[in-house]
Symmetry: C2
Subunit: 332 residues, 2 copies
């Protein structure tokens, strides 16, 4: 049985209340002498505070919970780093839960384990919450914010990149390099993110006077295999000269599949990845990318849930970083 403040009170010959005060370091609410006595007793007993009990009475907690969509989304790392950094700056602890990969039941489970405990706030990293689970979150009255995902519903707070701009800037980048027949691979068909990116893509093409062919867009779920499948669909004589990959992983998928098809990147085909995580630098040729600022999303997320006021949505900036996967076309 672990030692409690009562034990140390007895040992130090003071009351539990006093022990509580010195351990909580309510400075100048106790004499130096008692302070030392108590500390000594605590040390001797190997005392470990039961924070759960303390939180029960104070009705507040220092932990912020991050719920992560899937164990596979590689950009979760920089977001979490941002969260940690900002959390520690505010003297908050962070715990992370995995919510599976779109499975509503797993989501519910992660949510309840968090809601049933005293957590100060909840950050959801690119989890597209099943509709049935949203009320759970809202009813809990715990401040929350979605990260790296956006919704049509304006009433739920989120922080992410401007997906329209992502699609637009990506396309402009390729256009600027002289490409006109530009594909988009592995992007989702049904969610806000995919729709926005495609809207930006279409707009950029339209402004350049090119009308995109339906086959230029290969839908998918942002995964490596989605990228492979997309490239398989484009075929060995693709109608496009450049492809935007919906994620880094998807882009690597098209890269490898292109190679299998006997295509050289960027000689025969140019590639531009969306996300800009470490993966872009791992493969050869290194992937040019429209990079999101995931770290800042994490930072902003903590700020958002800490600020009482509701800034419902916020955008973090993107930037395009050139690497080696785009070939400059002189003419058609």
């Amino acid at each position: 049985m672990a030692a409690t403040i009562k034990d140390i009170a007895k040992l130090a010959g003071v009351s539990p209340g006093t022990v509580s005060r010195v351990l909580a370091n309510k400075t100048a609410f106790f004499s130096q002498q008692t302070g030392e006595k108590v500390q000594a007793a605590a040390a001797k007993l190997g005392y470990q505070k039961n924070t759960a009990a303390a939180e029960l009475v104070t009705r507040q907690s220092n932990v912020i919970a991050a719920i992560v969509n899937s164990t596979k989304t590689n950009f979760a790392s920089p977001i979490i780093e941002g969260i940690q950094a900002e959390a520690h700056r505010r003297d908050l602890d962070v715990i992370i839960l995995y919510a599976g990969d779109g499975d509503p039941e797993q989501q519910r489970r992660a949510l309840t384990t968090v809601i049933e405990r005293p957590v100060r706030s909840i950050l959801l990293l690119s989890v597209d919450l099943a509709a049935e689970n949203l009320p759970l979150l809202q009813r809990s009255r715990i401040p929350f914010c979605f990260l790296s995902i956006s919704f049509d519903d304006v009433r739920v707070p989120y922080i992410t990149s401007d997906d329209w701009q992502v699609g637009y800037q990506a396309t402009r980048t390729l256009l600027a390099a002289g490409h006109r027949r530009i594909g988009f691979a592995g992007v989702d068909r049904d969610f806000h993110t995919g729709r926005q990116r495609l809207a930006g893509y279409r707009r950029a093409l339209q402004e350049a006077g090119v009308s995109p062919q339906p086959e230029w867009i290969q839908f998918g779920n942002y995964s490596y295999t989605a990228g492979q499948a997309a490239m398989q669909a484009y075929g060995a004589q693709p109608d496009v000269t450049a492809i935007i990959g919906a994620s880094d992983l998807a882009t690597v998928g098209v890269l490898n599949q292109a190679r299998s098809l006997g295509l050289q990147v960027p000689a025969d085909l140019s590639l531009l990845a969306i996300d800009g995580t470490d993966i872009c630098e791992l493969v050869r040729p290194a992937l040019s990318s429209v990079s999101q600022n995931f770290y800042d999303m994490g930072v902003a997320g903590v700020q958002q849930v800490s600020a009482g006021n509701a800034i419902p949505q916020k955008i973090t900036p993107i930037k395009v970083v050139p690497r080696a996967s785009i070939r400059r076309l002189v003419s058609e």
Copy 2:
């Protein structure tokens, strides 16, 4: 203010004790009628149980905490998946904490936030705990187990691959392909893992009658940059014909650096990665590997901390999976 069992007791016209019973689903300890009344009241109030309070009185918890070393170790994912799977099988919840990258202060912080709360057990994923922090863990009386790391100290429980075998099998694999001058890149110099792998490596060479040159071993911290640095040290006319990379990432580092040096893999240089995570399939040529079974480590980890008895150390099997980074040498 969230609703409590008292509120719902009042609303349902029963006592708090009864409410507790039906909500805890102590079947057959209440009539169906009261059950329904209580459930209805709970639903109307949007009741959320305060598990922390419950844990306070029952003195036990259903959450197991996983502390992971760094946000960058890519093999953490499969381990965590294994943990989740086995935990859910046992109806346990899991929370994850990041302990930074070897920073004792961050480790301490992660440890205390976990120890100060009611967690059932603690799993530490490849965290090499600062000596000063081990007592913290031990004093807490919470069952714990290290995963994917090993120690000289026999008294701390861990589950990992047999590192000696990792080094030995890796070397044998290259030997079997006809290589004799074999390097080892990015491996640590000071810890149990590195020493064991190198011992296995040396033994295999010795059995084949080759005496390793000191420059064949390039120490490092398993990172991508460690791999790059190692390859830089081997140079454009390396004395070795094959290199074992201490991790997948390190191996990609040597791969890319080799390319920069004008070397073709596997034509000019063969590569064998240790770990066998997804990364091996991402790059070209795909990396042959000595693969560890990270998923099973996670599973075994929760089994270990759940079993009361202390099976101090356990080994998970490895296997070598051939891909495309090794060239078969006919003769020297």
